[in-house]
């Protein structure tokens, strides 16, 4: 049994069958990549995992509990954090505040009314957020406006915010899309380091094969809403079905 078990998940948008009978099992503490050509249903699948979409059929179990019918924040509180294709951070807040919010969410749950206390006097939160900034190599940017950072730094911050919640499963949606080569390599190194040092499972949707083969221990290939193959990276590279899906019939 993996930490994430997707069984026969189907999703239809009007006449388009975006997902049809997707089965997926992500092993605990592994890095699992989901790849596939454009329109294969990768993002739809991800949205079904985090509560943004509700699949028409099938089940999604995380650590033995169903996530279906739960809202995104409830699923997040179960231990699934998500990194977006374009970094989603609190742009109007400082980097430090960005890091403190997930620390509060981890400690206090989805809502707590602490309207009179000074946030900087919450020693445990401040310490944890500062340690996380050091881990992410961003301690010097502590007081910066988050929106004024480079895209690579925003991505780093977003990943750091997700880690501050100590999730058991980290979902990444094309984390290197639109990045320069150097930033991409930095992100790969960061993710490698995270998966080595932490007790965490990573599921990654990615287009860039360089990223996929540098990170993944297991790969699922999705095409037209159904999984074609699930195998180890060495076997995926030369797989005829995969080549067909990516390059077309004639190749």
């Amino acid at each position: 049994m993996g930490i994430l078990e997707v069984k026969d998940v189907g999703k239809r948008f009007g006449g388009l069958q975006a997902l049809g009978d997707v089965n997926l099992s992500v092993k605990e503490n592994s890095v699992h990549a989901i790849i596939g050509p454009n329109g294969a249903g990768k993002s739809t699948l991800l949205n079904c995992l985090v509560g943004k979409l509700i699949p028409d059929t099938g089940s999604v179990m995380f650590d033995g509990q169903s996530v279906l019918g739960r809202t995104p924040y409830e699923i997040n509180q179960m231990g699934i954090s998500r990194v977006f294709q374009t970094p989603e951070i609190f742009g109007d807040l400082s980097v430090m505040e960005n890091m403190m919010i997930p620390c509060f969410a981890k400690r206090d749950g989805s809502f707590r009314m602490h309207a009179i206390e000074n946030m900087m006097s919450e020693k445990d939160i401040v310490e944890k957020a500062e340690a996380m900034l050091v881990d992410m190599n961003m301690a010097d940017k502590r007081d910066m406006h988050a929106a004024s950072m480079s895209r690579g730094d925003k991505r780093r911050l977003e990943i750091g915010m997700c880690l501050a919640q100590e999730p058991r499963l980290l979902l990444l949606d094309e984390p290197t899309a639109g990045m320069a080569r150097a930033d991409t390599n930095n992100t790969i190194d960061l993710l490698k380091q995270i998966s080595d040092e932490r007790d965490i499972t990573i599921a990654i949707i990615e287009h860039d094969m360089h990223v996929v083969f540098s990170l993944a221990q297991r790969i699922t290939v999705l095409a037209q809403g159904t999984p074609l193959v699930e195998d180890d990276p060495e076997n995926i590279k030369g797989h005829p079905k995969v080549r067909e899906a990516y390059l077309g019939e004639s190749a």
């Binding site: 997040n76 998500r82 951070i89 997930p102 707590r112 939160i125 406006h145």
Partner: protein, 402 residues
């Protein structure tokens, strides 16, 4: 001090000094001079400055922090006033129970309105609050005012009549709201040479309440709750995927700002014991939006400045009429005098809205941060003039919540 950092303490002290010495600041001109009509230090207007300041501080906790633009906050102000006047009618002229009930009733109404309206965000939220407030206006204006069940006294407005029960009001006392015997309308006038300064009990009650709720607002701004509200304004998607539920946070902010409005309404009734439905009309809701934006949305002091600015215009500019203008420009040749008066005429007196509108547009276009940004720019300009010219440009740290 009081759990605030140095900057916030300075701000609080500044506001305390301004409110406590307002009777002096607002009456800078001798009372028999031609400029005396620009004096704003009479009790009625000073009370209004402070009451609308409280209203705007509360509104800013919702709009400034979460970005949810409510167009229905005047409804809470009106509800607060009605609640206070009912206390006067039924029980006592003491303002303490009246103000407490005003806050509670407004908070209850804002739970209802907030629970429904916060299901949507952006323009839909604004329209929902507007619709709600208009419904409450209609209720107050006509529906709840009929011979069988007269809660609001409709067009006339709710007021205290001699045959009202007033159970705990001793006959020996005057028929006016008081704080344990201190009447709200009692004023001591201090004459210093040609100057006259008014010290009014009601004003000082309002000013002390303003200081208390301003302090509370600072605490909210600097709290984890305040940070969550700013996070909601910044990125709700990230908030949702960080395991936080925005709904109770926004509802709490809505109720707090509704309670502030109720407090303002209660104080208004305490200063003058009547409540009318026009207090709940949508123009009154729009006015607090203007105050907040004009002063500086999301800043601590901005709403208070905006409220003072608009109320000053409303009361002072509207009093300038053609006769006054002719007096001012009497030194000009006749034809020119008439022409200048003709040019200025539309902008003063009943046309003060025109001046306010132009000022509002100028502020929004050139100073998106409101009067507070204007002040900051002037401060920076003075500083940069003071420094030697060869120092390079310095990077400013991000301003947080200010």
């Amino acid at each position: 001090m009081l759990g605030l950092n140095k900057k916030d303490t300075t701000l609080l002290i500044a506001v305390a000094v301004l409110t406590m010495f307002a009777p002096f600041f607002l009456n800078p001109f001798p009372s028999d001079s031609a400029m005396a009509q620009f004096n704003a230090g009479y009790p009625d207007l000073m009370q209004r400055f402070v009451i609308f300041g409280i209203f705007a501080i509360g509104f800013n906790i919702l709009f400034g922090l979460t970005g949810y633009l409510s167009f229905g906050h005047a409804a809470f102000l009106g509800v607060g006033s009605y609640a206070a006047v009912w206390i006067f009618k039924l029980f006592t002229y003491n303002v303490v129970p009246a103000i407490i009930l005003a806050v509670i009733v407004a908070a209850v109404f804002s739970v209802l309105m907030g629970y429904v309206s916060l299901r949507r965000s952006g323009i839909y939220f604004s329209i929902l609050t507007l619709a709600f407030a208009q419904m409450m206006f209609a209720l107050a204006y006509s529906v709840l005012s009929n011979p069988k069940f007269n809660l609001t006294n409709g067009e006339t407005g709710l007021q205290v009549y001699p045959n009202d029960p007033q159970m705990f009001h001793p006959d020996s006392m005057q028929d006016f709201p008081h704080l344990f015997g201190l009447y709200m309308n009692s004023t001591y006038t201090m004459n210093v040479g040609p100057w006259a300064f008014d010290f009014n009990t009601g004003y000082y009650l309002c000013a002390v309440v303003l200081l208390a709720v301003f302090y509370l607002a600072i605490r909210i701004f600097r709290s984890p709750f305040g940070m969550m509200l700013r996070a909601i304004k910044s990125n709700q998607t990230r908030l949702n995927y960080t395991g936080l539920n925005p709904r109770p946070y926004t509802l709490a902010a809505f109720v707090i700002s509704g309670a502030y409005a109720g407090l303002a309404g209660g104080l208004m009734a305490a200063m003058d014991p009547l409540a009318g439905a026009e207090r709940m009309q949508w123009t009154a809701s729009g006015e607090v939006v203007l105050m907040t934006i004009l002063g500086g949305t999301g800043t601590l002091i901005g709403p208070v400045l905006g409220a003072g600015f608009i109320k000053y215009f409303e009361n002072i500019f509207s009093k300038i009429n053609d006769a006054v203008l002719h007096q001012w420009f009497a030194f000009l040749p006749d034809g020119l005098e008439d022409f200048v008066v003709f040019l200025i005429h539309p902008f003063v007196g009943k046309g003060w809205h025109l001046t306010l509108g132009i000022l509002f547009m100028l502020v929004v276009i050139f100073l998106p941060g409101g009067l507070v940004e204007g002040g900051q720019r002037i401060g920076k300009w003075i500083k940069s003039r003071g420094k030697s010219k060869d120092t390079g440009p310095k990077t400013e740290p991000a301003e947080l919540g200010e």
